[in-house]
Point group: C2
Chain length 409, copies 2
Amino acid sequence: MDMFTVKKRQDVLSLLDETFHNKKIETETVDLLSSVGRIICEDLHSRENVPAFRRSTVDGYAVRSKDTVGCSDALPAFLNIAGETRMGEGTDLTLNSFEAIYVPTGGIVPSGADAVVMIEYTEKFDDDIAISRPVSQRENIVGIGDDVTENEAVISKHTQLKTQHVGALAALGISNVSVYKKPKVAILSTGDELVDVNSELSIGKIRDVNAYSLNSMLNVMGCEIIMQARIKDDFEKIKETLEKATSQCDIVLISGGSSVGNKDMTPEIINALGDPGVLVHGIAIKPGKPTIVAKVRDTAVFGLPGHPASCIISYKSVVEPFIKYTLLKSQEKERFIKAKSGFQMHVSSGRDVFYMVSLDDSGDEYVAHPVHGKSGMISLLSKSDGFIEIPMEKEGLQIGEEVRVQLFR
Amino acid sequence: MDMFTVKKRQDVLSLLDETFHNKKIETETVDLLSSVGRIICEDLHSRENVPAFRRSTVDGYAVRSKDTVGCSDALPAFLNIAGETRMGEGTDLTLNSFEAIYVPTGGIVPSGADAVVMIEYTEKFDDDIAISRPVSQRENIVGIGDDVTENEAVISKHTQLKTQHVGALAALGISNVSVYKKPKVAILSTGDELVDVNSELSIGKIRDVNAYSLNSMLNVMGCEIIMQARIKDDFEKIKETLEKATSQCDIVLISGGSSVGNKDMTPEIINALGDPGVLVHGIAIKPGKPTIVAKVRDTAVFGLPGHPASCIISYKSVVEPFIKYTLLKSQEKERFIKAKSGFQMHVSSGRDVFYMVSLDDSGDEYVAHPVHGKSGMISLLSKSDGFIEIPMEKEGLQIGEEVRVQLFR
């Protein structure tokens, strides 16, 4: 494979999908309260009708609607109070003609009744109530299965569960759900210059920023980081660690060492572990061009650029969609914040260009401002809210043009 | 206090802010990798210059720029190679006139040099290199402190940390951060009709959905649920549990029992625990009107409606802003997804009306569709992506009008 035969990002994502769509991610059962953010691996069906009994939506009196026909303030309908049902209890009561039975909101509507009159339209006289407004059939009643019928699919396979789903599932008595296991990831940082984040910096050293960025992004994505290592630029050591990582993980991320420079061993090392090895070296994105995509055993291996902002863009634009759509088969599209561009730029790079932006929402609409500065790597990271993409077909961006901002989380 | 003197939502949030703005939330130090989603309680300053040494942004040769003036392909500048610096190492080398020193990307630029020539514009001849393109002063060099200077505030107090901040802080060697402790919350569900989510439903019973919805929303918000109880409609039992909860928690949520009905004991019980007790009973929101806001000891107590969708809206529109802005002092505005309304409606309720919607993004723009159905509580929860607000000043919504969707998470 040629070095730096740059591929379009969409083609890379398709290739990843073709290569790994059969890769099996195991499933597990988790408690409903731990399920937020997880992706379910089967359709969830209701085992019952909801509601399971006819339920009143108001505090009032269950009646036969025909007994209220024509009543008014001037000419109320008088019905005999035949009892009451209670919240949380069944009832043996049956309603007969010209009877009314008190029902609380959410309470069971006794058989024989076909409507509930709101208490506001009744007045009590000893054993009778006077009703001043007629009700129609089924008024203020939710029927059996009106919300969900037995066996109905309530949430479909491959949905990423959100908080509101938790409520729906709790209502159905589904307290455990089958989800895809968290993909297992190794993060390998390579480079003689890298030191631990806790280290004081001696000259020439830089801290291993990408280990932290990647770890936190993967965590938020729902992955499990089972291996994290920092390795000197040593062919054998990297090879050995990569071999171990690929035997244990679904995904291995190698950060650093992917530009064509002095110490560019990553593709060689990957290929040394056997076929097919490197699938792509160079993606038409900016930043992030020197990204490597590879397959070792059944593991997806990504070589990410060492520059922290490039590493993040490469991860967000290639690795994250792969995890979300190919591995976990999510059906959910990315949601973007629409904003006006607060800046103008010309690009004609033949690449998808990503720009980190900050969002200003002081006015009626969001405005996206570029975050930059001379190699302002930390400023880039600390001041941006997200990023925009200018696809390669576009020649640039006008001030005021609509852009879609993908927020960092 | 009058029952159901309905207050505007903005006034309720202001009242909460006045009442609780002095409430102290403790702080704690957490590891950087556990900090995503937490809100920092102090400005974070850089303890050092970044970069701490002059760094090359390219692979190439450090030179004096004046030695390259006027050079070209036809007339290259020849400089003597005086050594190399290595990635991750300092250097004792000093560059003299008409010398060049090899520097890798990210490597230290030796003293005496004021620019780096990219390797692409050089050709090596034994001990010399020929340079075919002139460089200007500081070209391809990031100076000391160019990114961040010592003592500069990098991330300001009250920022909710996101994944990109983790990278910035790692770069600065900040591996622990001071954050507000997770607010402690109790969730009390009241109602004779409530049963555990795992229970089979006998007639008249419903599962305790709100316990699950609230728990998951609070978790995502960064709260710690330290107490969760389901209590029958029994004045003394509720009072006893509420007393215990308010002595241990920053926030107590009571779900159910807040409509003016048969068993509406919540406000009475709250007031029985002492002044000031109930501050608000009834908020001009739909759904969610019967929401109670109270103060017991130094604890914020909320009575939320029992209907699961109303409970969620009440929580999202009142409790969540209180936690985020009053307690945790977040500076971050809510980010909305802008969409076109796919429906038309007239409202003139004198309330802020909330509508659960699903988002369609099959075309160029997002379209928000209403999710409803006859008391379709579970459908409401399972099919919606978020909600929109129609503020009380507005009389309705036109098809195609822009709406702001707050996504469920």
